[in-house]
Structures are given as structure tokens and as C-alpha cells.
């Protein structure tokens, strides 16, 4: 049930500074895979991360479809391994510093500004900022965040032992994390807007037939109620318009993701949902600025895809650096 392992000590040395070959924004699978390729190739690489290394992938209990791990692997462990691999080749990583602006100065020089007031300079910049869980924007959601409303079942699931929880959203994420909640909670109620679950069949079978699970489809959650903490969820049957209220101690929200691209919306070209458009080489419309992973338009939100994008971006960077050198 428990395990004991030694995580790498967080690196706290200040970054070496100077002109980087490659600055990567976001330390999820896309950013780290790109760092592994680039650093191993001898580039001077900096990764800037606003929170902690790992990205969304680190918040999932078990990843079962990433090749090479027949038993599956904990998201955090996979990401810790990617981090070690990147650092082994000399990648510098800064955590807890959010990039607020990317400023192309001239060919071969891009400045990256952060919330802590730092400025870094690189020849190429990769936007690998992934996405954030979407909020529903319904009454009670903000108010009870941390008091029953959660976006991370892996983190908070154990607090709901023997309690009643509601999972909003029956897509892959909702069902996968709901499966984890079924280990703790006494009842798990799934509420889905569509009239069916868009999730993988294997997840549907595991979750929907579970004796502790109840599912409502074609239903829209309209309010999360509570006093000190969450007490109930109110939803509307979309066919009949009837309102139902079910008692709940916790509400886990998995209603999709939105890209983290606010800070570059005036720089690169976005599609109507805010995802970054690139060509097949991961190049945006701005010279020297690339994008990879979940943040890229028309991409599949999967670790394998993010990792593949990261590799391509590193290759493009290598080509571009060679071009800069030949022009100099």
C-alpha cells in the first residue's frame, strides 16, 4: 500500500544565465522531452516552470498507455524520471517562476520575462505550457475550492474515505480519476452533460459497472451548495428540465482543459479555442518561437504525443541554430 522512494533533491542553484540556445517554457512531458533531446545534443537549455516539474501528467495516479511500462506507471514517477533524464544532460530547470512575456528582439535573440522579475535570453523559445483544468463557472465552485471542490483526485481522494463524492465529467480524465476515487469514497456519482460517455471503453466498463458508482447522463450541474464546506450538488436533467439535488462531501471537476496561452495571445497565432497554430516542425508564425504538446492546435492530449512534439521541436531548433551559425 505504501512505498518509500527517494526523489531527486530539488535543484536550487541559480541558473547560469547568459545566452541560452533553447529556452523551454513549461516542464510537462513536451518540455522535458524536448530538453532531453536538446541538452543531449549539446545545447545550453533552460526550462522555466511556473509551478513544479511534471505538468498535468504528474497529477494522474496511473498512466497505462505510455509505452514501456507494461504495469502502468504513476504520473509523478514518470515525470520525475523525465526530469532526471533532462538534468543528466545538463538542462537547467527553474521552478515556481511564471513566464509573463516572450519578446523577440532580433533574429537569434528572444527575451523571456518572468513574474519574479527575471529576464532570460535565448536563441529559440519553446511554448510547452499545456493546459489547465476548465472551471464550470457555476455558483459555489470558486467559493468551495479547497473545501470540497477539487481538480486533483490523486491529491485529495484519500481525504474522502467513506464519504460521498461527485465527479463532474465522464470523459477519459473523469472516469480515470473517478476509478481512483472509488477506492476511497462510499459512493461516487458521475454526472455528464452529454447523453453518453466519450471515454475509452475499458474505462467505462471498469467504472460504470462498479457497485459504488451511479451515473447521470444528459445532465447539467448548475450549483455546488455548502456552508463551511460542500454539502450538495444541484443538476438539471436536460431532457425534462427537472432539477435534482444530491448530497455530497466532495466534488471533483473534470470538464476538459483550456490552453495556457494568455501571455502569448498577441504574439503567436491561436485558433478560436486559444490553441497555438504551428507547422509540422512545431514552428509558430514567429521566427524562433516553437510550440509543442497539449498547447498546440489540433493535437491529442496524450503524453506520447507531447513527447513526440518535444522531440520534433528539438530537431527544428538544431536546424535553426545551424542556420544562425552559417549566417553569422
Amino acid at each position: 500500500m505504501f512505498d518509500f522512494k527517494v526523489a531527486e533533491e530539488p535543484r536550487k542553484e541559480a541558473p547560469s544565465g547568459g545566452l541560452y540556445d533553447y529556452i523551454i517554457i513549461g516542464a510537462g512531458p513536451a518540455g522535458l522531452s524536448s530538453a532531453i533531446y536538446a541538452a543531449r545534443d549539446g545545447m545550453k537549455v533552460l526550462v522555466l516552470e511556473k509551478e513544479v516539474v511534471g505538468g498535468l501528467a504528474a497529477t494522474t495516479e496511473l498512466i497505462e498507455n505510455y509505452p514501456g511500462f507494461p504495469e502502468g506507471i504513476a504520473g509523478e514517477e514518470l515525470m520525475e524520471r523525465m526530469r532526471k533524464q533532462a538534468e543528466r544532460f545538463g538542462t537547467e530547470i527553474v521552478e515556481f517562476d511564471e513566464v509573463t512575456k516572450v519578446e523577440p528582439v532580433k533574429k537569434g535573440l528572444i527575451r523571456v520575462h518572468t513574474a519574479e522579475g527575471e529576464t532570460y535570453e535565448g536563441k529559440v523559445v519553446l511554448l510547452a505550457t499545456g493546459s489547465q483544468p476548465k472551471h464550470l463557472g457555476i455558483p459555489g465552485e470558486e467559493e468551495f475550492y479547497g473545501r470540497g471542490v477539487s481538480y486533483c483526485a490523486t491529491c485529495d481522494g484519500p481525504l474522502y474515505k467513506g464519504k460521498r463524492v461527485v465527479v463532474i465529467g465522464c470523459g477519459n480524465s473523469g472516469l480515470q480519476e473517478g476509478q481512483n476515487l472509488l477506492n476511497y469514497a462510499s459512493e461516487v456519482t458521475f454526472i455528464e452533460f452529454l447523453d453518453h460517455s466519450p471515454a475509452e471503453k475499458i474505462l467505462q466498463e471498469r467504472v460504470m459497472n462498479h457497485p459504488k458508482a451511479t451515473c447521470y447522463f444528459n445532465s447539467q450541474v448548475v450549483e455546488i451548495k455548502g456552508d463551511e464546506k460542500v454539502t450538495a450538488v444541484v443538476f438539471k436533467d436536460r431532457a425534462t428540465g427537472e432539477l435534482k439535488e444530491i448530497p455530497a462531501d466532495g466534488v471533483f471537476i473534470y470538464v476538459g482543459y483550456k490552453p495556457d496561452t494568455e501571455f502569448v495571445k498577441d504574439l503567436v497565432e491561436l485558433n478560436r479555442w486559444g490553441y497555438i497554430k504551428t507547422d509540422e516542425k512545431m514552428r509558430t508564425k514567429v521566427e524562433g518561437v516553437l510550440a509543442a504538446g497539449d498547447v498546440r492546435a489540433d493535437n491529442l492530449a496524450q503524453v506520447t504525443v507531447a513527447v513526440s512534439d518535444g522531440c520534433k521541436a528539438a530537431m527544428t531548433t538544431r536546424e535553426y541554430l545551424a542556420e544562425l551559425k552559417s549566417e553569422a
Binding site: F2, K5, G54, E61, Y145, G146, S150, C152, G157, L159
Partner: protein
């Protein structure tokens, strides 16, 4: 069966080799309502077994009142991580999974006797404290962000004699967790007043400390 396999034992030994000061792991168990007490004792003994600088002592919370008072323990299971002096680092519950790293970090701090990762501004602020500060960090073993919050609290405790840092495994202290409405982790509670949700950077904890005093 040993809790730590050979590989992990080797890594722990390497991390704890050459600590300048001796470290005592003072564990308090209780005979009832403690499903993990045996595990915790075994874990502390195995960790102590990796380094000549680290020792483990075990007391019964319901019996050894003098020790309970000496280490200001108000609930069990608890482990005080004590170096050349008592810096005020406590772990309540089992430091398993991600939290095992928090325990090791605490031992390193106690063994060095000074903060290892705090920036100058935070150290300066802590040095200027005049009143006691009690930081409680609620965690779960499966929460990837929790060790950040927990080790930061331990760093602060090491940096100032006025700071006491309790890391609490929320599932084992459900009543307390309910009393504080812990519905998400990590949760920092400062001087029983200020709440900071999530793994916050040091300056946010400093702000919350300022507000609380």
C-alpha cells in the same frame, strides 16, 4: 520484510552520510487507534540503520508523559526530528510515498542545523520574528505537490527558533482535518488563523505569517 529495499537503503545512506550533527528520530506511538504505528517504528529504525549519525527512539504517547511534554506532542503517532537542538520539526502519521522525501529532508535539515534552501529575504524575515509561529501543513502520501509545502515549513522551522512546523498526514487525523475543513491538500494553516492552499512559494507563506501576527 524490510520496508526499504537495498537500492533505496543505499540512496538514503548516501543522502544522510556525513551529516555534521547527530539526529534523533523521536517517535510516539499509542496502543490503540494506530493502524500504522508498527510500520512507522520500523521505518524510523530502518532509516536510522542507514547512518551512524541517526538514531531512533520510541515512546508510548499514553505512558511517557515526560517525553510527551518535552517534545510538546499533542497527538500520536508523531515523530520529532531533533538535531543538535530541537528545531521544532514534527511529522504526524506515516511519512510514506511522497512524504518519505519530507522525512529525509527534515533529517538533513536537523543534521546541518541550518536552512538549506531558503532565500535571503525569507531568512531575514524569519530572523526578525518576535512572536512564535505555528505552521501546520496537511498532506496525503499520494499528493505530488505536498512535499514542497512540507519541506518549506521544515526549512522555516530550522531557520528560526520561534517557528514550529507540524506536518500532518490528513487521513490519520480525520477529526483534526475535519476541524480545519481540510478538503484539499496541501493546506498550510498558520497560527490557527491564516490558510494557504496549495504548494505556495516562500513569500506567500511569509505574507500569511505577517497577517497572522
Amino acid at each position: 520484510m524490510a520496508l526499504l529495499n537495498d537500492e533505496i537503503r543505499g540512496q538514503v545512506a548516501e543522502m544522510l552520510a556525513g551529516l555534521p550533527n547527530k539526529v534523533k528520530l523521536v517517535t510516539f506511538t499509542q496502543p490503540e487507534n494506530c493502524p500504522y504505528c508498527d510500520l512507522i517504528v520500523e521505518l524510523m529504525q530502518e532509516v536510522a540503520g542507514t547512518s551512524p549519525q541517526v538514531t531512533s527512539e520510541v515512546y508510548d504517547f499514553t505512558v511517557h508523559k515526560d517525553k510527551v511534554a518535552e517534545y510538546k506532542i499533542d497527538k500520536a503517532p508523531a515523530t520529532a526530528i531533533v538535531g543538535a537542538k530541537d528545531y521544532g520539526m514534527r511529522f504526524f502519521g506515516i511519512p510514506a510515498n511522497y512524504e518519505f522525501g519530507t522525512l529525509l529532508h527534515g533529517i538533513q535539515l536537523a543534521g546541518h542545523g541550518h536552512a538549506l534552501e531558503l532565500d535571503e529575504a525569507t531568512k531575514g524575515f524569519l530572523a526578525s520574528l518576535e512572536k512564535p509561529v505555528h505552521i501546520q501543513v496537511f498532506v496525503t502520501p499520494t499528493c505530488p505537490y505536498c512535499p514542497r509545502a512540507a519541506t518549506l515549513a521544515f526549512e522555516m522551522a530550522t531557520a528560526s527558533d520561534l517557528v514550529r512546523a507540524d506536518v500532518i498526514e490528513a487521513q490519520e487525523f480525520m477529526e483534526l482535518s475535519n476541524a480545519y475543513n481540510v478538503m484539499g491538500v496541501p493546506l498550510n494553516v498558520i497560527n490557527d488563523k491564516e490558510r494557504v492552499e496549495g504548494a505556495a512559494p516562500a513569500y506567500m507563506i511569509v505574507e500569511a505569517i505577517k497577517k497572522s501576527i
